[in-house]
């Protein structure tokens, strides 16, 4: 039991580290105005040097690397805080779906440009009435000659405003039960009738969009999978979701609380001297370390050629709530200083407290995560689905 690379891994890591040292730009990350240009330039640099999409086949711009090699490169790359966000969904979710369902011409046309960062993709699945019930989507597609005509609305689409292409699930037959009348496409985001509107979050940021479709025409050859078989195609996409999206606590971690408790006084003594504070901090440390070492165990499984299981769902569940609690704790320690938002340094806690609810929901709420663990890890029965087998247009929706 150790934290060490195997010989092969160590050699690969050294190679990756050397290349990154020589080539990684010195940049501030995602929070600059030109981050998309920077991200594209960096992706192109990786592509040209053979460090893009490592686990993909070489013919589409990859390197045929093992999963653990891909993880090693990602870990090394992460030290540089480079903007890689715009490609996560395209490379992590759209690409596996295209590999499984697109034609050879389409794969040759789209995958290399995805690998090189020339084209950015987004994912158009969630809808306002859907939420956790993802398959209850209503965006309609109707066949019209060689095209399909799409009307409806999607929501929570990251990067829609700068994406070139999108993957899209639609309802082609509302008279069939929920999972059976869906059809899956990819489309050009600049098609006529596509409108993107940013969503403002509590924190004031806009990380997501609404996307409206008004008589948008999609050629039938951009359909992935059979008509009515969209749910199965979507599952291919979703199986890759947890690999593609992050989660976790962001800036509010144990160290944040530990540092603040060393600075703030309670009754004339640093807060950290108080056993109650120490106990609370120790709880957080144990959870944070527990997640970190769970990650190490997952990576060990990769190293052995095994596939880490759905137990990784615990990460977001634990970290998101903990980040909210740590932010709240820090604000309470600071009192009115903690709720004031005038100074960048001091408003970090309040900003984190405003951002935390989003982390507890985006990518699957706490309740969904618990269901996943209960059903997929522990093998407990699924919830009763009253809509099972019911024609979609007869399922109760609460609409008056």
């Amino acid at each position: 039991m150790d934290f060490d690379d195997t010989l092969e891994e160590a050699s690969f890591r050294a190679q990756a580290r050397t290349w990154l040292t020589e080539n990684a730009p010195d940049h501030e990350g995602d929070h600059t105005d030109d981050f998309l240009d920077v991200a594209k330039a960096w992706q192109k640099a990786k592509y040209d040097a053979g460090w893009a999409c490592l686990s993909w086949p070489k013919e589409w711009g990859g390197r045929d690397a093992t999963p653990v090699e891909a993880k090693i490169f990602a870990d090394e790359e992460a030290r540089y805080k480079l903007p890689v966000g715009p490609f996560l969904i395209g490379q992590g979710m759209a690409a596996p779906t295209m590999m499984a369902y697109a034609s050879e011409e389409q794969k040759a046309r789209y995958l290399p440009k995805l690998a090189s960062g020339e084209e950015v993709w987004c994912q158009l699945f969630s809808e306002p009435a859907g939420g956790s019930d993802l398959a209850a989507l209503r965006t309609r597609s109707v066949r019209d000659g060689d095209d399909w005509v799409v009307n409806g609305q999607k929501i929570w689409t990251s990067g829609a405003h700068y994406s070139d292409l999108g993957i899209l699930v639609t309802r082609s037959d509302p008279s069939l039960p929920k999972h059976m009348g869906l059809t899956y496409f990819f489309l050009d985001m600049r098609s006529a009738g596509v409108e993107v509107k940013p969503i403002k979050q509590i924190s004031g940021q806009s990380n997501f969009n609404e996307v409206y479709f008004t008589d948008v025409r999609i050629p039938d050859n951009q359909r992935l999978g059979a008509v009515g078989d969209g749910w199965r195609v979507a599952l291919t996409t979703l199986m890759n979701e947890r690999a593609a999206i992050g989660g976790g606590g962001g800036t509010m971690n144990f160290q944040t609380a530990f540092d603040l408790a060393g600075e703030v006084d309670l009754d004339g003594q640093p807060a950290i001297t108080d056993r109650g504070v120490r106990g609370q901090l120790a709880d957080w440390y144990c959870k944070e370390k527990g997640l970190e070492f769970t990650g190490a165990r997952s990576q060990s499984a990769l190293s052995r050629g095994e596939t880490p299981g759905p137990e990784n769902s615990i990460g977001k569940l634990v970290a998101a709530k903990q980040a909210q609690d740590i932010a709240s704790f820090c604000i309470e320690l600071l009192g009115m200083t903690g709720v004031s938002m005038d100074h960048e340094e001091l408003s970090a806690y309040a900003e984190a407290y405003l951002g935390a609810p989003g982390s507890r929901i985006a990518g699957g709420s706490d309740e969904i995560m618990l269901n996943i663990i209960a059903e997929r890890v522990l093998g407990l029965p699924q919830d009763i689905r009253v809509d099972k087998g019911v024609p979609f247009n007869e399922v109760p929706t609460g609409a008056k």
Partner: protein
């Protein structure tokens, strides 16, 4: 046993609910959140016209002479509506501080506060941490003139007068002083907080006339008493907000369908809502304890205030966090109203000192009781 509000008090509540739902629905709080107003001056003027600011002021000073239970009723409803008005600063704090003062200063300010001619606030904070005497060293009074700086004053951006905790430059005693904020030498610096529906400012004083509100003995006790009394009213605001959050969550869960049925039917959501209800019931009962102690000026006030305050802060936090959670994706959008309560909950939790300090006071009260 009559541990409930009276029929008359509940009538006042009905009137308050009617007025606030008509004139101060959440859209008013949102107007202030999204716009440039410091507060809803229109709603405030109507509240003044209704005489709410005069509720507990003696008739001798232009008030209605009701007890503090009526203020508790109004506090709960104001907390529920999130009305962006300076009621807590002007009524629970400034008016209360002035009402307990020597007659000359009281006679000067109290009638004007009662009829809403002036808006009052209380200036306590100078540094990080709860507003305790040992953290108040930077404001001094020499020959009736105040100098120094106070921070994070709720309604400090709009108040006409402030009650300032400051030290006598000679004796070092801490006292409360009334200051006309229209005086020369007063500086205001707007401060942004997590809850933009309530305005905040830092205030600086450069040789500004200040009238003592309390005699020099027992001033720290006077501050403590002011905070304890206000804490009960703040707790009622928190209670109202918590219950509004529960109701909002419940209504959403009943109307939102997933997998063909309302999400309110899933045990994860049912039990979450039930736990919110439990937290609110406990907080409500403890708030009534605080109300009783406030209204009867019972010796238990410090303990009752702490009990009410801790319960209400906890309930409000739980209910606002879980209200967002139950709303799912919609819950963390700016467009939905969940975050208005989430922001207010955090502001009220740290104002007058945070949960940790109130818990400390609570146990200290019991230690003192049981040692006696």
């Amino acid at each position: 046993m009559n541990f409930e509000f009276s029929a008359e008090q509940n009538l006042l509540r009905e009137q308050a609910v009617g007025f606030l739902s008509d004139r101060a629905p959440l859209s008013v709080a949102r107007r202030v959140l999204d716009g440039d107003e410091t507060h809803a001056s229109d709603v405030w003027q109507e509240i003044v016209n209704l005489g709410w600011t005069a509720t507990a002021v003696p008739e001798s000073h232009g008030g209605f002479g009701f007890g503090h239970l009526e203020l508790c009723v109004l506090a709960e409803e104001l907390g529920r509506s999130l009305a962006p008005v300076p009621f807590s600063s002007s009524v629970y704090l400034a008016t209360e501080a002035v009402a307990g003062a020597d007659s000359l200063v009281r006679d000067d300010w109290l009638p004007r506060l009662a009829v809403g001619e002036v808006i009052g606030c209380v200036a306590l904070y100078e540094v990080t941490g709860a507003p305790k005497p040992d953290r108040m060293k930077g404001c001094t009074v020499t020959d009736g003139r105040l100098s120094g700086r106070k921070r994070w004053i709720t309604d400090g951006d709009i108040a006409d007068m402030a009650v300032v905790a400051a030290r006598d430059a000679v004796t070092g005693d801490l006292g409360l002083y009334a200051v006309d904020l229209g005086s020369d030498g007063v500086g205001r610096f707007t401060v942004e907080t997590i809850d933009p529906t309530r305005n905040h400012a830092d205030l600086s004083f450069d040789n500004v006339p200040a009238s003592p509100l309390m005699t020099s003995t027992g001033e720290a006790g006077g501050l403590r008493r002011l905070l304890d009394r206000a804490a009960v009213l703040f707790a009622f605001e928190q209670l109202g907000g918590a219950e509004a959050s529960l109701n909002m969550a419940r209504d959403y869960a009943l109307g939102r369908y997933a997998f063909g049925r309302p999400i309110a039917g899933y045990q994860a959501i049912k039990h979450k809502l039930a736990r919110m209800y439990v937290a609110i019931q406990l907080a409500r009962s403890n708030c009534y304890y605080g109300a009783w102690a406030l209204a009867t000026d019972a010796p238990e006030l410090p303990l009752a205030a702490a009990t009410a305050r801790v319960s209400a802060s906890q309930a409000y936090r739980e209910c606002t966090e879980e209200n967002i959670q139950i709303h799912g994706g919609m819950g963390f959008t700016w467009e939905f109203d969940c975050h208005l309560f989430y922001r207010r909950a955090k502001l009220l939790s740290v104002n007058l000192g945070g949960e940790y300090d109130w818990k400390h006071q609570l146990i200290s009260c019991i230690e003192a009781d049981q040692a006696a």
